[in-house]
Symmetry: D2
Subunit: 296 residues, 4 copies
């Protein structure tokens, strides 16, 4: 059992602390929310840990993570190890690693998948960094990952950045998977040939080619709301789908499904579309096709 | 100069009668709308024409056209020629041709492009059928088509059905062209890097690679409504885009642009999307991501 | 335990006979391949069954199935039940049901998912038809479907046609899921940021959001061939993806992911693309961009 | 008439020099290719121009342009004006403008469209920068742009960067337009319903909704090679399509058509696709579907 500092006790970090403590590790948490925090400040957290320290950062990707890493860089000492488990863009990792390397502090980037279910099911982990650091953090990884063979829920993906890169692609795939189910659901709902749509989707859980964990979640959602009509079809995107598409562009990899899934989200958030106003205007211009005027 | 019966005097047929009369042809029109009709019934129209007759049908595609052709089939005589100039599906043409052939009545299918501008600019024409029938109707085609070399505004595309097939593909392409401009317009509007979006689009009319007649129509629309915000982004589809996509499927031809343009129209007409409700539900299930509930 | 006639003993039917016999049912099979067939002809098969008979047809969709159903229609008697378990288009089902209803023979359509793994794992089943017929065949369904709650591997989807409709949509989704993983795989291979791509994909099997049965199959494939370079990227399509897209068109349901997955298969089979030759020609025309001439 | 330094005398710059000289301007060109260059070096070019100088840079976008601007920055003096007419990314413009502003040198970015045809037809121009600088360069712009009203071939799009931004979007649209025609062409070729495909496309030039300059170029290409089978369907992309898509991502603008057109180009350059190998592997795994092995 090892000692770990854990910065960020939101939906993900809070559950991870639970899982790690249940496994017998000593976890000292820090969060700006004093109700969940174990320490009053990052400095207090660092003081509470025995050197050489291991600190896991689990705060929102982007500015919050970059700032937390920078602050910890000032507080940590040679031989310490910092792990970024958030959904950071992989290009941040090299910067973080270099910043910390100047002080002799090690760095790992970890893509963590599993959402709120990870506390009980374990989290899928993809790690980037040096093997020595990976080995050092392995007791933590082994307690966070699901039961079963290590290689089925954990991978040392490569050097610094590779963990977040793997997670980015994972999320891009996730967009595509979700949209595939969603299109099928919409078609079943629209065609009305299948009389009991939730029953059919429920029956896909065993034996079929499309069975998956996401499908099981869709079944759960349909159990609560069989037509999903309590929800609006409004879908945010967190950034990883965009980055995946940008990487596809950079490497000239065709990504029609992942891009279609991303664009469907963009469209879902538009009350009205400039593009479609332009198409309506064109049809009106050449064909005298009737158009909907605002307010009609 | 020849004599022509013209059935259907809506936006297209009315203008075509004007253009043909201006060219010196004798046109006897029929429309259910007595205010524009020259004859009281199809039978009266047929009686008013000297045999061998030539009748152009310009009514809405589908049931209306099929029924008109059938009724005319009963009224026409051996040696007459019927021309379907509507946006019929090409598969209807073989049926129509066979029906009429049984009575010795000839048949041509004509794809007519140009919209409300055709009256002054002329109409692009794509014709399917026997060469003898095409030659017989050529005085009409020559007056309907734009000035300039015949082959730049008229084609004998092939045997029966080929005219409507060519028009179907023409319209599929049209969907793609319009959507391409529309996406560019939306990006210019969203990015706000270009300060005067209509000025830029106006400047694309001469010299650029993207100049086209559709672009000129977009410029006209922007002159009337610079942000196109009098319109809703709600776009109908007339059927030809769907058929084009079905044909692409039948022939295993990838059609990502034409399908994307069609789907954008479908989406534009949805108040809310079942598919995107499913994606929202899934994100909520695994990530505890917040969702928009109806009424919030 | 019940008696079943089973027509078609290919990859699917052969395994189903094994599974049903292992469950204790009496299965009399017929196949044109005498090495696997239990009877010498359809007539012999029908004679070998006690009335009222139950016959499951598991032959290739389309002409083969339609012909088999027609032949059996001549051989069967009032009170018999015919089940089409192939991948037939749902529009065939109504025709089959009416044909058989004229003789008092019942009809069920069943979508069967699970591939070659079904023999051991059980098959996911989606059934269309009357409840009485469904109940009658339930002992067979219960033995074919996977262990676990019936509703997680079996659904009575609705009236005749609904089973195949559900299976069609299932396969459309499957196209999208496969393409999503495939795009992610290609990006990981192309970017080379992740050093051990198979290890990362293997690690997605537990705990992650993208875990699924298809993912497990991808892991198996990578174990045999880590870069998948023994294969050509040439992918057939069986028809169900096309039908799904046609249904989406019919119901004005946007299906960008399913269509993209289908088009990727179309493209994979083209040695060279007319469309891309046209784009190359255009670039050459306006920009003097160099093009690849055939044979260069 | 004014004096202009012109750096870069390739396909575009060479023709522009011709057009400007024909209009009566004094153009001193520089190119590394001594056969076309009027001066031996950038320094010599700068010396040959009377202050305040105006220099137009027309070299490949990216490193070549950035380096040329930097070198000229060292050579130019307060009051001079540098114009980048290449296909630079709009984000470079702010950097260039700031670099030059430090020396009192003005900067304009110009998107230039029209390809090799611009020499005779004139070039469509989109300009970013201060109004005073735009006015100063207007004699040059007026000679480069096509005949006709200035606003139909020239726009002052906004401040620095806006010219290249407008050109980037223009090119993104161009990708979509080309792909739309290309898909229609492929379908016509594949379906063989239309017997004379080039005749139909030729006939779209007058009167139709799809008429455009690109269509005229397609007609020219078909005149030289009616099936386009002298070419390979291999299409490069120059960068602007990628940037357009990245901007669409940044602004959450759905761009299904532009992305599909870009991905079609990516696919056209792949001998074999990792993604499709993965799909083939999956089908083989679950269905025992036959696959093409390499070398078969």
């Amino acid at each position: 059992m090892v000692q770990l500092g854990l910065v960020g006790l939101g939906k993900m970090g809070f559950n991870m602390r639970e899982r790690l403590r249940a496994a017998g590790h000593e976890v000292v948490g820090y969060d700006r929310n004093v109700e969940v925090s174990d320490s009053g400040s990052l400095a207090e957290l660092v003081s509470a840990l025995e050197a050489p320290r291991m600190i896991w950062v689990m705060v929102p990707a982007g500015e919050a993570t970059r700032q937390t890493v920078a602050e910890l860089g000032d507080l940590l000492s040679e031989g310490d190890l910092l792990i970024d488990g958030g959904n950071s863009r992989y290009t941040d990792d090299q910067l973080n690693a270099e910043l910390l390397a100047g002080k002799g502090v090690g760095y790992l980037d970890v893509g963590v998948s599993g959402g709120v279910w990870g506390k009980d099911n374990g989290y899928g982990l993809m790690v980037g960094g040096d093997k020595a650091n990976v080995d050092r953090a392995m007791p933590i990884f082994d307690s966070l990952r699901p039961d079963g063979p290590r290689e089925e829920g954990f991978a040392h993906a490569g050097s610094v950045g590779a963990g977040h890169y793997a997670k980015m692609v994972h999320n891009g795939i996730e967009y595509g998977l979700m949209q595939a189910y969603a299109e099928g659901f919409e078609l079943l709902e629209a065609a009305k040939v299948v009389e009991d749509v939730p029953a059919v989707i429920t029956a896909w859980q065993r034996g079929t080619v499309v069975r998956s964990w996401l499908l099981e979640l869709l079944v759960r959602a349909l159990q609560e709301d069989p037509d999903l009509d309590d929800l609006e079809g409004y879908v945010e995107d967190s950034g990883e789908g965009r980055w995946t598409l940008e990487e596809a562009i950079n490497h000239a990899v065709p990504a029609p499904v992942i891009s279609a899934a991303l664009f469907a989200r963009f469209s879902s958030r538009q009350k009205d579309s400039s593009a479609m106003r332009a198409v309506a205007a064109l049809r009106n211009q050449f064909g005298g096709h009737s158009v909907k005027k605002v307010g009609e």
